[in-house]
Symmetry: C2
Subunit: 227 residues, 2 copies
């Protein structure tokens, strides 16, 4: 339950901030542990904390009126969670689930806002982090509206989406993949088969092994015709 300064330094927010300063604020954080599968933050609610991912992987998603889920991001360690509602005062903009066991450091809204105000270097870090996220989101947006499922899946495997490359240990189901690329489970299943036949991946239960990035690259570009 002790908050470690070295772990804080690995967060995007605190990169380049010196240990002495972090030493002063470490007491403001609380460690939170989530089991795999835990929905620890619900869309639409008001949660007055900011979270940092120390370890594990978090799925950030939105659910539409008709129940369809769209994954916005697979957040790896170093990422912050729930920034948006903190800074714009609105409700939580997305839901979060732990895809693996997750360790978070949590800090109260009022505390982090105070710390920020007193620390311009930190604010610049936040600004950069938010800017990177906007770029990522708008790339995803463009992609979702232009390329087709096959290409989107290939891009996913190339690590173009969540920022993290998908590894074998993730244990994502085909349904998960579907909501990552904004499609249906069946479509993902069929597309995976195609990519497998082309030698890009090998499928097995709850995991996909990447075999040939060049093949994926070609599929991602839509250069390939499927017959």
């Amino acid at each position: 339950m002790t908050i470690q300064v070295e772990l804080l330094q690995a967060m995007r927010y605190f990169s380049g901030i010196d240990a002495a300063q972090l030493e002063h604020i470490r007491h403001l954080f609380k460690e939170v542990r989530c089991d795999k599968g835990a929905h620890f933050l619900a869309e639409g609610n008001y949660t007055d904390s900011l979270y940092f991912i120390i370890s594990g992987l978090v799925k950030v998603y939105k659910t539409s009126a008709d129940g369809k889920e769209q994954v916005l991001h697979l957040a790896p360690p170093g990422d912050s969670l729930n920034d948006v509602s903190l800074y714009d005062g609105g409700p939580n903009a997305a839901g979060m689930v732990a895809l693996t066991p997750v360790v978070l450091y949590a800090i109260d809204k009022k505390d982090i806002l105070r710390v920020l105000r007193e620390n311009p270097a930190l604010m610049m870090n936040v600004i950069r982090a938010l800017a990177e996220r906007i770029r990522r989101d708008s790339n995803l947006l463009e992609d979702l509206s232009s390329s087709q499922v096959l290409a989107r899946l290939a891009k996913l495997f190339l690590g173009r989406y969540g920022g993290e490359e998908l590894t074998a240990g993730l244990n994502l189901t085909q349904k998960d993949l579907a909501s990552l690329v904004g499609s249906s489970r069946e479509m993902v299943n069929r597309s995976l088969k195609v990519i497998e036949e082309m030698g890009g991946i090998r499928m097995s239960r709850r995991s996909v092994i990447i075999l040939d990035k060049d093949v994926l690259q070609k599929i991602a570009e839509g250069t390939v015709d499927i017959i």
Copy 2:
């Protein structure tokens, strides 16, 4: 060509910043005028300026490999442009076109960064502005991947997208509407007819008049079955 402090105060970045401070930095801005239709910022280029919209409307868009355009935002006066590349150091994340004659105030990257560093209140404004944008983008993202064209069009007319309600004076073509909702011109044409028949809008060349928001609301929710 004179930069006016009162106009600066109307920008999201400078809201709540007092006139005396703005007086000190006004000399850093340059006024830029764009004709309607001018593509004044290209995606992928490096442009070391931040822009503020004083008047007019700017279309912010991305173009995919196969030439399809997706509109990210219709930016109204008060908005800043090109923030992302400024803060993350990457190339321009989107292209920009003036949809009307536009007046911008431009400031050099190094200048605005210096001003920011010296002014924590300003930084907090930036953080809030970026957070609002992330929320907007992720709503758009969810929407594009879930609802269908008819519903997306209705939402567009309800002002749920670009943040601004579409007015008659905009002179958008059906092709423009298509790239706003991520669809094709023909599909937009047919959908507009449907909405018109239901009494939600009245169409005329290059403009759409909103007649009945309740009808639009129902269409947006997907409550309506089209026969």
